[in-house]
Subunit: 328 residues, 2 copies
DNA sequence: TTGTATGCGTTATCAT
DNA sequence: ATGATAACGCATACAA
């Protein structure tokens, strides 16, 4: 790969002059510019970013640290981040932690070594103060995406509000008992229950939480719940993947959806449209989140005032489909 | 971020000595080693990869150029590539072409600028000789993954053979007519038809190819096919995503699966297990492909003899499930 | 064992 | 308008 110095020799000028030409800088003699440009093009010159970074101090790299890139939701997020970053001349160096804190720690070191200009992270560890400090001590502009992290810039959807949308929806659809699949610490759950309790205080106790991912166990819990509560059941799963599994189990059990049980997923994956019945789901604004995250990051990169990070909650939107709406 | 030179000053030795210590090189005075190591740790020293690359000439970056990272299959592939590369100290710089040849071209330039040590590509353009030359002219070790590209190293699954597995399977399951969803240029199709024609020459004509992704059109074509051929129909879709869509349509049409129509997808996505009926699908050896690709790449990086690239076909495996097997 | 000197490919600051 | 020169952070060959 040809360098500026070599071009300089070939064209009989100095290397800085080549630099000026190639960067469109300053006023340079038109005929020199012509010669140099021609030579560069002829030899397919490409600047060495490593050298540029050393001299300049901007790598134009954004470190992206994810928990699981094989998760469709994150993969989609990355796609949009790559696009937004690319528009501004930034590239992604990608890491997958696989939910391992040690891996995450390693990644944090590696991005330092590459002197990335910024960082987009989906953290493994749920916001320990220690983790936040560690990130802050990197002195690299960073934005946490998909999760809250006080003191740091973060972009996420308001899960509580999303959960309450689902609660209201299922209540409106005449559900008299409720099932939540997922972790009770999840804000989705809180919003969900709040809404239900507010709208139907009488049904407050008609609730089952299922954590396991094991089909047989799920079936057992569901059977018990449905036996206990004869009215229509409203089921809310923390993501589409699990919702799909549940749908399969319900069908195998011969439970009518949405008649006997109404089902709502989360993430609004492409498959929602393809399933039968079509799966109601909560749509997260992936593209907007990615754009916001990159925007915040670039802003911090341009203006490195060490301000406190801000929270940037975004709104999710329930897409009702036939898995929860009888009319459809 | 502290540098070697600064550590040198702080510890009263020369920068090269610091370098030696930090790289575990040579024999260095134990007490000097101690002092330097301590100082480095205390200040959280991290080497500057940009500088290392400039001096050394290895960036430890692998450029990964994909057509669509939001595709679950590719996302999974990336996950494994990242893992394999990481084991060997290589990092990924990720690009998404979105199937745009111009974007791909840009990416090829950008990876040059970053002086990546190697390249893993899922090309947009189907193997024009021009494209192959362009890649070869980069003089960067490259491996094409998921597609064939003669003259270049490539890792892919033998789609023809995979298709024929599906053909045999559906024939064994008593299918008397066949539908292929996808492009007829696809080798999956060729293998599929070959197998069917060989096993049941009489049914050779009982075949429909459907290209459209539009639900209404799909339904129309399927209805026509099923009306025309009363025997059991064997349906093969080029990926699980489409298979899922088809399953939904069949269910809406009231077609019994696998009784009236047997369905087989491709990619063996997680959802296969979750659907009802469970979806038969062809499993591609993602992890093995990723490992092989990285292995080839690292080999080429270590031993830069400019040999002809080789094809590395791998075997897919049909996973029969209840969408195509009555017994299950 | 350790220090000096040099170079990697740029950018940037000087002169000229 | 252009050429010296230094500097970025590190590795490496050589000298001591």
């Amino acid at each position: 790969m040809i360098t500026m110095t070599e071009i300089a020799k070939l064209t009989g000028v100095s290397q800085p002059t080549v630099s000026r030409v190639l960067n469109g800088n300053q006023a340079v003699n038109p005929e020199v510019r012509e010669r140099v440009t021609a030579c560069a093009r002829e030899h397919g010159y490409q600047p060495n970013v490593m050298a540029q970074s050393l001299a300049g101090s901007r790598t134009h790299l954004i470190g992206v640290i994810l928990t699981d890139i094989s998760n469709a939701f994150f993969a989609d997020l990355v796609k949009h981040i790559e696009q937004e970053a690319g528009k501004n001349g930034y590239r992604l160096i990608l890491f997958n932690t696989n939910y391992h804190p040690e891996r995450e720690q390693e990644c944090l070191e590696v991005v330092q070594r590459y002197r990335v200009d910024g960082l987009v992270v989906v953290p493994v560890q749920e916001e320990t103060a220690e983790w936040r400090d560690r990130v802050r001590r990197l002195h690299i502009p960073a934005v946490v995406i998909t999760r809250r992290a006080k003191g740091l810039d973060c972009v996420y959807v308001d899960h509580r509000e999303a959960g309450s949308q689902v609660g209201r929806h299922l209540h409106e659809q005449g559900c008299e008992s409720y099932v939540f699949f997922g972790n009770m610490a999840d804000e989705k759950y809180e919003g969900f229950m709040e809404a239900v309790e507010k709208l139907a205080p009488a049904n407050r106790k008609h609730f089952t939480n299922i954590v396991t991912k094991e089909p047989a166990a799920i079936e057992k819990h569901l059977a018990k719940h449905l036996e206990q509560y004869p009215g229509r059941a409203g089921i809310f799963a923390y993501n589409d993947r699990r919702a799909l599994q549940i749908l399969g189990i319900l069908q195998r059990m011969g439970i009518e959806v949405p008649g006997r049980a109404a089902l709502v997923g989360f993430d609004n994956t492409y498959m929602c449209e393809y399933l039968y019945p079509r799966l109601s789901s909560v749509s997260q604004p992936n593209e907007a989140m990615a754009a916001k995250a990159v925007e915040l990051l670039l802003h911090r990169i341009e203006q490195p005032e060490e301000l406190q990070g801000e929270a940037h909650p975004m709104h999710a939107r329930l897409i009702p489909r036939s898995s929860s709406v009888i009319a459809l």
